[in-house]
């Protein structure tokens, strides 16, 4: 865990915290969500707390501010990623803008000993797991292909080949069962990824072996230029049913609902009932990556509609309305954001290129004669320039 994470992740779900924010009075006032009854929501876009029969949540003011802070800081360094790409410091940046609640909420549901298998956009999950943002940026700068130690935060490397990590997550979860442990795993993937055979196979394996894995699908409505209807003609959460495990759709812009639903899903897996699918219904507010031009395939109207559902805004409204955070909190968080952006910027700008001999390293754990030969030949070749230079 690094200092920037809001709170140390607990070894157990934080269910017994004492100070609760939703007083009975408040609870009584809570409304049923207005929208899709199949969509789990605990906080409306307008910042109103609503109850859901199956998913209760009861957080301290501290915890609520912590979730808010996680989302704000994630958004801040994500924006920095976009800027750094524009400035040529990064080759590419896949922004998570709009998906902060899905990522922070789900990741905050995890225990330290749980394991996250991300795709390439889970900067918010990484943040919560305590992976320093600079580490994430390295691969988009082109200095490595990942390179953080997955085991130091139980946060696997980003996986670019769509869907592959769902199987790694499942295998890891199978291993947990073999160890007799009660940890769990979250496999993150997108709406587009749901079409990959690997994801279907991971559903099969997880179901057959009762593996403790939560499949967390961020349906951000788009797979680059393709809307979700190009991947499925029914809501994605329903996919699970055909494999024999439950699926649920949660408002992916509602951090409370994401936290509550993922927590319940993780508990479900821990109890030996096998996997669960969570579809977080959200929106990719930005381009697919900095290389993408969404004006070619989607209307700005659509984006605008989702702006009203912003995950950060609604929690802020709630915090303000309930008097759970004061101006100082917001002001100091803004400073913290700026500082984080600066820190990331500086870290990137001073990030050194790898030594060219690194090409020949870490290909094999136990070595390989050809690699040795090629390394030596390359070194000799490089040395020949030095000689010529003499």
């Amino acid at each position: 865990m690094t200092v920037e994470s809001t709170a140390a992740r607990s070894k157990q779900p934080r269910r017994s915290s004492s100070k609760r924010t939703s007083s009975p009075k408040k609870k009584a006032a809570a409304k049923k969500p207005a929208g899709d009854p199949g969509l789990v929501q605990l906080l409306t876009p307008e910042g109103e707390r609503v109850e859901h029969p199956d998913y209760a949540i009861d957080l301290t003011a501290d915890e609520l501010r912590g979730l808010y802070r996680d989302m704000v800081l994630t958004r801040a360094f994500d924006a920095e990623g976009v800027t750094l790409q524009r400035q040529g410091e990064l080759g590419l940046w896949p922004s998570l803008l709009g998906q902060e609640a899905a990522q922070v909420g789900s990741a905050r549901a995890m225990r330290d000993d749980d394991y996250a298998f991300p795709t390439y956009r889970e900067h918010g999950v990484a943040w919560v797991r305590g992976v320093p943002p600079e580490n994430l940026l390295g691969m988009f700068r082109g200095v490595n292909n990942g390179g953080w130690d997955p085991n130091s935060n139980n946060f696997h490397l980003y996986t670019i080949v769509i869907g592959s990590q769902a199987l790694h997550a499942t295998g890891y979860a199978m291993g947990i069962t073999k160890d007799g442990a009660d940890s769990s795993v979250i496999a993150y993937f997108g709406d587009g990824a749901s079409s990959q055979g690997d994801v279907a196979e991971s559903f099969t394996f997880a179901a057959v072996y009762n593996a403790p894995v939560v499949f967390f699908c961020q349906n951000n409505q788009w797979a680059i230029s393709e809307p979700t209807e190009k991947q499925s003609r029914v809501p994605l959460y329903r996919r699970a049913d055909g494999f024999g495990f439950p699926g649920v759709r949660v408002d992916g812009n509602d951090v409370l609902a994401c936290l509550a639903v993922t927590r319940a899903a993780l508990e479900h897996t821990r109890s030996g009932q096998g996997p669960m699918l969570v579809e977080a219904y959200t929106y990719r507010m930005g381009a697919h990556t900095t290389s993408d031009d969404p004006t070619r395939y989607r209307e700005d109207e659509e984006r605008k509609g989702w702006e009203a559902k912003d995950p950060i805004l609604r929690l802020r409204t709630y915090l303000e309305n309930e008097g759970l955070a004061d101006e100082d909190f917001f002001a100091s968080l803004e400073e913290e954001s700026t500082a984080l952006g600066k820190r990331v910027r500086e870290a990137i700008r001073t990030m050194e290129n790898p030594d060219e001999m690194a090409m020949f390293e870490n290909i094999y754990a136990d070595g390989h004669a050809l690699v040795d030969e090629e390394r030596a030949a390359y070194a000799a070749y490089q040395a020949s320039f030095a000689e010529e230079g003499n």
């Binding site: 080759g91 590419l92 691969m139 988009f140 700068r141 082109g142 200095v143 490595n144 292909n145 990942g146 670019i160 080949v161 769509i162 587009g192 990824a193 079409s195 990959q196 055979g197 690997d198 797979a223 680059i224 230029s225 393709e226 190009k230 991947q231 290389s291 993408d292 070619r296 395939y297 290129n353 790898p354 060219e356 690194a358 090409m359 020949f360 290909i363 390989h368 050809l370 690699v371 090629e374 390359y378 070749y381 020949s384 320039f385």
Partner: protein
Amino acid sequence: MAAEKMALAKAITESLRTSLEQDSKVLVMGEDVGKLGGVFRVTDGLQKDFGEDRVIDTPLAESGIVGTAIGLALRGYRPVVEIQFDGFVFPAYDQIVTQLAKMHARALGKIKLPVVIRIPYGGGIGAVEHHSESPEALFAHVAGLKCVSPSNASDAYWMMQQSIASDDPVIFFEPKRRYWDKGEVDKTAIPGPLHKARVAREGSDLTVVAYGPMVKTCMEAAAAAAEEGRSLEVIDLRSMSPIDFDTVQASVEKTGRLVVVHEAPVFYGSGAEIAARITERCFYHLEAPVLRVGGYHAPYPPARLEEEYLPGLDRILDSVDRALAY
């Protein structure tokens, strides 16, 4: 003379457009090939003009794309499939190797599968992992497939149409870092055979064989060598399966020396096949062993190292020097 100057990517677009126009059975399919026009804009505008029925945005599943393309071909269509990047062809590898490549033989010729698989390949564009690979040897080894790669706009234009016209499955490797290179395209010309190599530059001291993105680099190397008084003959192979060994042989019989250049790792790469076969064909003509310049036995490195990883002028000339020193 109807020659136009256009970028290599644009030449492919035009070629696809012409094919779509000329044969109503031709389809274009893949991820994001529709409205977006593909991540490299190679299919730009095609869906608008030919409709969603012929230019098809597919679900995100490469095995599904190739597998359904096979089914469409069985129904009489001629699908041109786009794989978004080289590193994403592997989920489709099973369908390509066990089905696409073998079905004609399995049916004793009664089935033909005119499917083209377009793969933007190779490095040099500063991309993240899986976006810069050169997997051609993994396809050329497999009987039933043909593998080609244009190095310039004109070849891109013609070879694409010839590939679509071919009744065999063709893996069409597009040198993505040359997409924006412009060249003359004469749409009224009569193209040569699809699988014939081209002598891109004549020379007498040593033959350099390359294809796709490396042709340009080798031409630059030849120009640099010429300044040092060395005459390199550069052959643009164009086809990795079949390989036009006759053209290479004729050149090596003249020069006595051969360097093969490709981006793909050398180990088990196409250079090995060329070296082995040309050595057999030209044993008494070779003054030096065939030398190979290519990628190392390593995963394609992060972008900041790719200049070191990829064969460049210096590494090519170093091998030329070594070959000439024999």
